[in-house]
């Protein structure tokens, strides 16, 4: 996974700059090691102003960033897992869901709906990695499936931003089957001949990568995202060898012919609009 940032105490500054010395106003970029003003990072779409590292962007900001103001209509908000296997490890799955909803501020790992992008209606959704690692259980699978079904019915383009560790272990076989369900809905969507743009974010792996995320008519990725089927730790453990530098990054995938283009966050909306203009 690309670098994260973490909060650091304020650096020593002239006594006159009181505001900047407030707690939690500064963050350190793990990619370049520089200390940067938090508000500046926020203004810069959660991209490091010093080195261009893309930090995670909350799912609603992600959608706002590319859609016409006020055009997003969320669907399927109320979908909830029934915990069909009554899964429990060190914690009960039900409790994990509750805890995640609290910390992530989202009810599930995916938000989907419709909106307008450069004036064009689209069926659009994005993963929230902060909710159980963006994992796909029955709710996420259902939301993605409905996203494609809605796009099919209305004959409009589909766009998905993926950021996921893969299928959700706690719903076991049900999670696995969501890969088939969502891919089948996508197969059906192809008949209306509207583009499906898949945007791969950091990280996109496992069952999400191995289903709709890699089936885009156009596949874009943010810079330096971790993208692949097996996670790097799994591969390292299996092969008992160090992985090459830059393995499974967006740049690696572009070089190996697996994606169409790498797009900087601040150019994402324009690129999506361009694709829609050329294909939709």
């Amino acid at each position: 996974m690309a670098a994260w940032y973490h909060k650091v105490p304020a650096p020593k500054l002239p006594a006159t700059d009181k505001r900047a010395r407030m707690e939690g106003m500064w963050i350190k970029c793990d990619a370049c090691g520089q200390i940067v003003y938090k508000q500046e990072v926020e203004r810069n779409l959660e991209v490091c102003p010093k080195c261009g590292e893309h930090f995670p962007l909350p799912v609603r900001r992600r959608l706002d960033l590319v859609l016409d103001p006020g055009s997003f209509v969320e669907f399927d908000r109320g979908l909830e897992s029934t915990d069909p296997l009554q899964f429990s490890d060190s914690k009960r799955y039900k409790d994990r869901l509750k805890a995640s909803a609290k910390t992530a501020g989202e009810m599930e790992a995916f938000v989907g709906g419709t909106g307008r992008l450069a004036g064009r209606e689209v069926s659009i959704g994005a993963f929230h990695f902060g909710f159980l690692g963006g994992s796909m259980g029955s709710v996420v699978g259902e939301k993605v499936t409905r996203l494609f079904e809605r796009a099919t019915e209305r004959r409009i383009p589909a766009i998905i931003f993926s950021a996921s560790g893969g299928a959700r272990m706690q719903e076991a076989i049900f999670s696995l089957m969501q890969m088939a369900k969502s891919s089948a809905a996508l197969a059906r969507f192809r008949t209306v001949k509207k583009p499906y743009i898949s945007v791969l974010l950091d990280p996109t792996t496992g069952g999400v990568a191995a289903s709709f995320a890699f089936l885009g008519d156009i596949i874009l990725a943010e810079p330096k995202a971790l993208i692949g089927f097996a996670g790097p730790r799994v591969i390292e453990q299996t092969l008992r060898q160090k992985l090459p530098e830059g393995f499974q990054t967006s740049e690696f995938l572009l070089q190996h012919g697996m994606i169409d283009a790498i797009v900087h966050r601040k150019e994402m909306r324009d690129r999506l609009a361009q694709v829609l203009g050329l294909l939709a």
């Binding site: 979908l79 099919t152 191995a210 089927f229």
Partner: protein, 342 residues
Amino acid sequence: MSTFALDFEKPLLELEAKLVELKRHAAIGAGDGDGASLDGEIRRLERRCAKLTQEIFAELSRWQMVQLSRHPNRPYMLDYVQRLFTDWLELHGDRAFADDQALVGGLARFDGEPVMILGQQKGRSTKENLLRSFGMPRPEGYRKALRLMKLAERFDRPVIAFIDTPGAYPGIDAEERGQAEAIAACLEEMAALRVPVLSIVIGEGGSGGALAIGVCNRLLMLQYSWYSVISPESCAAILYRDSKKGEKAAEALKLTSRDAFENGIVDELIEEAPGGAHRDWEATAGNLRAAMRKHLRELREMSPEQVVQDRYDKFRKIGPITDSEAAQPEGEPARRWPQDRS
């Protein structure tokens, strides 16, 4: 055949060894006059063997079933091909990079009717396992499968897929060549195939690497096979940070054929020979043949459009959820497969 035995099989194998010994004595001493008493003893021992088999296998834990699914003497895909089909013609290669021997495919006849067969194939020896990557396909394996599925569709041949893999191969080369894309493409293309697809889990059904040949109209599972999102060892490595706790993970994942059946994922469970498929390949293949015959006959009644819609409906309904805000901004979209697909 290896002499490998699982711990819980050992009492049974010991008893059977006694039986073999007794039968040998009976054969030698047939003319000595005590043949009759030995006959009685043999029959008694045979009954005890049958009873013990029943006792051991009536209450297997999920982990024991996983062990059976991996039994080194268990029949693999090509063993079933040999027993259930005629006129087998293996077809090689993805036409782009290589021929992956972990995923085998080809044409053959089932009850005289031409069909396309796909399946992961494990090896019996160390050498063969290296060649077949322990049944873990690479992208070229999935791309071969995809090529053969399209071939089957073009010539209106049903697809029969034998699932037996711990998962897709996790390696540098597999990632470089697009493992995720290769699996994803299989899922989508299979969903849209205009010919019947019958998938059968014969051993291990591990993650997307198994599902890639599992988007089917009918899913069958052998009694001692498993199917889940992850292997129990990998699950344990993540949940308990200890890959040796597979037994615990197997319970949590509820991964057995019976679990899958109770969860509505599987259409029919296929009974194995007493003591497991490895104890009698012919009997197990016979049970499988009967089920395949029934399902293929039913699927052959459907039009290409019905076959695609049937498959869509099968997967569309999987995923238990509730909706606390049942009223949508607008009505639910219809789920019919458009008829105009060319």
